[in-house]
Amino acid sequence: MSHLSHLSDDQVISDLLPRKFGRLGQIWTGVLILLCLIGAFAYYRQLRYGLSVTHMRDYVSWGIYISNFVFFVAISLVGSLVTAIFRLANVRWSTPLTRIAEIIAVSAILFASLIIIVDMGRPERLLNLFIHGRIQSPILWDVIVITTYLIISLLLLYLPAIPDIKILIDRADPSLKKFHGLYRFLGSFWKGTKDQKRINHLSILRLSILIIPVAFCIHTVTSWLFATTFRPGWDSTNFGAYFISGAFLVGAGAVVTAMYIFRQTYHLENYITHLHFDRMAKVLVMLALLYLYFNINEYLIPAFKMKKSESAHLEELFVGQYAFLFWGAICTGMIIPILILITKKGRRPLPVFIAGVLVVIGAWFKRYLIVTPTLLHPFLPMQDVPSSYLHYFPSWEEWAIAIGSLSGALLIITLFVRIYPIIPIHETLIEKNEIKE
């Protein structure tokens, strides 16, 4: 924060306060709302006509919805990475990134929960999961752990933001006037006394410790939804670690993408600096290498053995109809970002942003490849079934709902940024003044 020492507190506050959207922001919000509405209409059609509007059938019963679910769960891990791990490791440079990471985590985990309900087809039966749920089932573990993770993430978003909300109340910025009721409700009690600071600090610390095992649980349990079933590609003891490493990577990719967008849109060059991009890029390289290592483990060993029952699935991935997607996901999700970020020039904001986008896109298709090809290659041969059972390509309703859910997650982040400072003001001021002293 030494680069901020020349700025006054007022200047920092003024720089970091939420601002009214410009024309681009309004268009962006409008497009997201439109996509959400199209998704809602598709979901209405699914509710009315049943899951038959999707192209999921007896074999591919987990389609794009579950791919999306795994993607959301994966991306939500970033909250624990940046907020908790960096905080506990006393990584001071990560301060401007904590709120970006937390809001991504909250919006992603929220839509992970919603997309599971969409996949159920009959949402009113959700209650049965709690009434008749078996604690032996990993599905119930997933429900418990997702709910827990959502609550902890919300608290981790809220508690560090309380002093900032007080600043928002005190700074009577006209563009924020309509939100004052909300600010007062959430932060008027904050006086910044010694006791309040101590309690709040302790609570954040406890949550930071708590969220790490819960985050590991959520990703491990999600991987167990696959690994506990006996299918080609899923029958692995390595799936928990494989999913966690992939989740860290996509989460970090999402953070660097968001960092760049916020930096450019709100002119936060003083706060999200080249140093942040450089360090996050190094983290990204490390995570990409780790995920690549797990991918080699997951695919090379089965390919080396090439068991007859699994060969059809592997050949489809390596050289068959999914080969383009498979190698594309490996390259865009891991290899190309590593090649970009490994050089010093590649760790400048724009290349890091490009690498982040590639990681996120590659990660989405990687989740699709984990789910669908396996379901199309069961151990028992598919005989005497309609031709629609033998292939899967999502229907327009599935695409609309999936895109709608992604847009919904982005909309939450967008609206959050409109109301709350995306970079913690209070913590930035403290760190700036500490260095000054």
């Binding site: 078996r134 604690i135 418990i144 006086k191 006791d195 309040q196 309690i199 709040n200 609570s203």
Partner: protein, 295 residues
């Protein structure tokens, strides 16, 4: 006037002919029903007939479900009415001899089962008969310490006494879920002049119930005179098999939610209590912070 009457008579005759023709045409379109009847006597006390309704379609016999059948004993009169039933999806009906016909049943040695099937839209009415001679099987066990034998006797009622049946083919065995298990040298034996057979029971490893009881049995199958007869007897000749705890009563990962393993309950609830306890503690701290701000 005369010509008018002639026309009327002609029309009447024409209508009558048309009606008869229609009836004949309808009747010729309906299929002929063929009834097969089999008689069964189980444990010498439960008697029934199994009747199957069939019809020929494209040169092949096919069973007829939903055909209404009525059974009589010896004569088609109300007093001898046994029962009526409708054929199942396999075209079969099972009609038990009721207790009210006991006197009629015991009065003579031979009886005839008469079964009528009712006509319907697709089939004509049909009739079938089966005459049997009443017979009984008796089963006994003989054990002398070194060998175990099954003795089965067959007798027929001659109107006055039970007479041994000579030359009757009997299949002894052990009753299992899937049918009769062969446990003797031969699959079937023929009765001697005393109406009996004796077969050695050789298998000593056959699993029985928890006390080693197995069910010995003997049957006569589709005999032209006596029909199907079955007799059973329990004997402690099997290997005792102790009942294990029911598969689904165990606390395992695959049973119902009420049979969750204790270790899993401990882990899940332990984690849930630990984590949610901490979350609640953080929320309490938040409430405390709010209160501090209002002081």
């Amino acid at each position: 006037m005369k010509s008018k009457n002639k026309i009327k008579a002609g029309l009447l005759l024409f209508t009558a002919l048309l009606y008869c023709f229609q009836l004949t045409a309808q009747d010729s379109l309906r299929r002929k029903v063929s009834l097969t009847i089999r008689y069964f006597s189980e444990e010498n006390k439960s008697m029934y007939v199994l009747s199957t309704a069939k019809t020929k379609i494209n040169g092949r016999f096919k069973t007829l479900p939903g055909i209404s059948m009525t059974a009589y004993l010896d004569e088609e009169i109300a007093d001898n009415f046994i029962d009526s039933a409708i054929t199942d999806e396999h075209g079969e009906v099972k009609i038990y001899l009721p207790l009210r016909l006991k006197d009629l049943w015991t009065s003579t040695a031979n009886h005839t089962f008469i079964i009528n099937s009712k006509e319907n839209d697709t089939t004509r009415s049909g009739q079938g008969e089966l005459t049997i001679t009443k017979a009984k099987l008796f089963i006994d066990t003989l054990s002398d310490g070194t060998s175990r034998n099954i003795k089965i006797s067959a007798s027929a009622w001659n109107g006055k006494t039970w007479e041994p049946i000579k030359g009757l083919e009997i299949k002894p065995g052990v009753q299992r879920h899937g049918g009769m298990l062969k446990v003797t040298d031969e699959e079937s034996y023929t009765t001697d002049s005393t109406g009996s057979i004796t077969a050695e029971f050789k298998d000593t490893t056959l699993p029985g119930d928890e006390y080693g009881n197995i069910v010995l049995g003997a049957k006569v199958e589709d005999n032209d005179t006596y029909g199907n007869l079955l007799i059973t007897k329990e004997a402690p000749w099997g290997r005792p098999v102790l009942k294990t705890t029911d598969f689904f009563d165990q606390r395992t990962l695959w049973t119902t939610r009420f049979r969750t393993p204790y270790w899993l309950l401990f882990i899940v609830y332990g984690m849930a209590i630990g984590i949610w306890g901490s979350i609640i503690s953080v929320i309490r701290s938040l409430v405390k912070t709010i209160k501090l701000g209002k002081e």
